[in-house]
């Protein structure tokens, strides 16, 4: 059962992103917060999906409300142990966990 070309493309893109320096995990969720693709195990995935999705939505709507001409382009959360990159879009959110050590 060969994966069709579009599926292969997205898998490849994700693989490319995962192989960047320091990336520990990746996650794609749709607008309702349901994970579409994930590289981590199930409990972590669901936790990240629901929690971070809410945060990204809130940030996006805050940006839009304070200035209707404006919108969220990228969200980066810097925590003690690692960094989370969130790229928002109208259909999906992409989240990457990176560990930037020198």
């Amino acid at each position: 059962l060969l994966p069709d070309p579009s599926e292969r493309a997205e898998v490849e893109t994700l693989k490319r992103l995962q192989s960047q320096k320091g990336v520990q995990g990746s996650l794609v969720v749709n607008t309702e917060g349901i994970p579409a693709q994930s590289s981590t195990d199930n409990p972590t995935t669901t936790q990240h999906a629901s929690l971070r999705h809410n945060l990204s939505w809130k940030t996006g709507s805050t940006t839009h409300e304070t200035d209707p001409q404006n919108g969220l382009s990228f969200l980066r959360i810097c925590s003690k142990k690692n960094e989370i990159m969130i790229a928002p879009d109208k259909d999906y959110f992409l989240m990457l966990i990176q560990n930037p050590t020198e």
Partner: protein, 579 residues
Amino acid sequence: MSWRSLTNSKTAPIASRPQSSALEAQGRRSRWSATAREGGAVAMATRARPWQLCSAGSAGAVALATSGAASAEGPGRPGQLQDETLGVASVPSQWRGVQGIRGKTKGCQTASIATAEACAQTQKHADAEVQTEAPVPAGVLPASQHDSPRLAAFLRRVEAIVIRELNKNWQSHAFDGFEVNWTEQQQTVTCLHTLGYPPAQGQGLHVTGVSWNTTGSVVACAYGRLDDGDWSTLRSFVCAWNLDRRSLNPRQPSVVVEVPSAVMSLAFHPTQPSHIAGGLYSGEVLVWDLSRPEDPLLWRTGLTDDTHTDPVYQVVWLPERRHSHRFQVLSVATDGKVLLWQGVGAGQLQLTRGFALVMQQLPRNTKLRKPHRGETEVGATAVAFSSFDPSLFVLGTEGGFPLKCSLAAEEAALTRMPASVPLRAPAQFTFSPHGGPVYSVSCSPFHRNLFLSAGTDGHVHLYSMLQAQPLTSLQLSHKYLFAVRWSPVRPLVFAAASGEGDVQLFDLQKSSQKPTVLIKQTQDESPVYCLEFNCQQTQLLAAGDAKGTVKVWQLSTEFTEQGPRETEDLDQLAAEVAI
């Protein structure tokens, strides 16, 4: 004014009628009230001036005459009585001055209270039970349900920006050294509680072991003696204090268990908050249930062939292989045996697996001093299990060399000690020795290969499982070191208890040469024998000393919060292999 100023004249003492005439002379006002009030005065006035009344009128004179005649008969004395004229006494009216006062009568009555009776009665009831269910993990939608082309298009759109950000992040120095404080910072180490049991302290017992229970609210200590001598018949105690109770009395433990022999070590059950295991000087292992104060003993090994023949220096709880919610007790003693016990039946601890350390069977990768003739057993004094591999453990020995051992070892031990299960030789690797017996070992909860050992030479050695020589050796004390423990939250912090009476806290990030904090537990330098971190309330550290007191220390915030990148620093430390 005397009544007896009777006169001979016909004008005799007055009756009530002349009073009214006097009033008429004064003017007609409300007569009836005047009579009441001024009766006396008027009477006296008119009595005193009888001559005035004579001119009042004929009717008045007739009345006078008749009443006078009647009253003249009264006294019945013939008369030497004289006329007198007395002064007038008058009492001025008060009410006439205040004319505005009018009396009025009013009444009130509450409206009648309406009452009604009614009854209520439940006619039917239903029983219902509630039970929380284990949360069902939400599954990930299978990929086939997704709109794959749209997903691919999305990823293509964001790929470029994400990669750019990732690279920027990798090179960014924006957050170097940036630290945020979420909780209030505690700057110093303070002693929260000083706990002791006076009867045990009176007997001169030492605190030989402390343990926190699984909820982190109860601390238990074992009393025994750690110096030389035959203490096998000394009665001792296991005491527990519940630190969360408001009625905490530091001199009165919540539970006291009397034990027939000195207790050398103590360990709370990992999931049952009231079960606690203790190893005795006599070689027995006992398990108590502290929630039953009248009969706390749950299980005991008894004195069988299987039991240790030497004091049990450490006990730990291990999950069973197949049922990880049930636990067994592992005990190590200086007779060279490491035994695994299971509670069965009516209070009996049965041996399920056993290991024996024999000198000849120790791995020869490290050169050890030649054993004395006849000495074949290797006494074990401490044990620590790895947090990453549940069958891997490290033993501290009387010979001063830590041993890497495995529960899965199969080789039979060459020992003649009797046992109901075959004893195996567990040692796989021998580490380079200390200058004296090892009293404590501790495996790092953050790194799979690192462990600490401390012994009577006053040194702490940091070993990696991969090599025999220690990575680093620190001299902490000129006397013995009795306990060493890694911090459960900070990968680079450990605490050690010394024979000089202090607890030393080392932060390898700050300084690897001297302790970051030195806590003086005892004033007269009597040794601190044991210490344990509280895994639930990570700022608490309990330490027990030779004076029989347990002190609960509250650590400053720097010891309870992980700094940025500590795990990486620990990895780096482990990677510095000293060749």
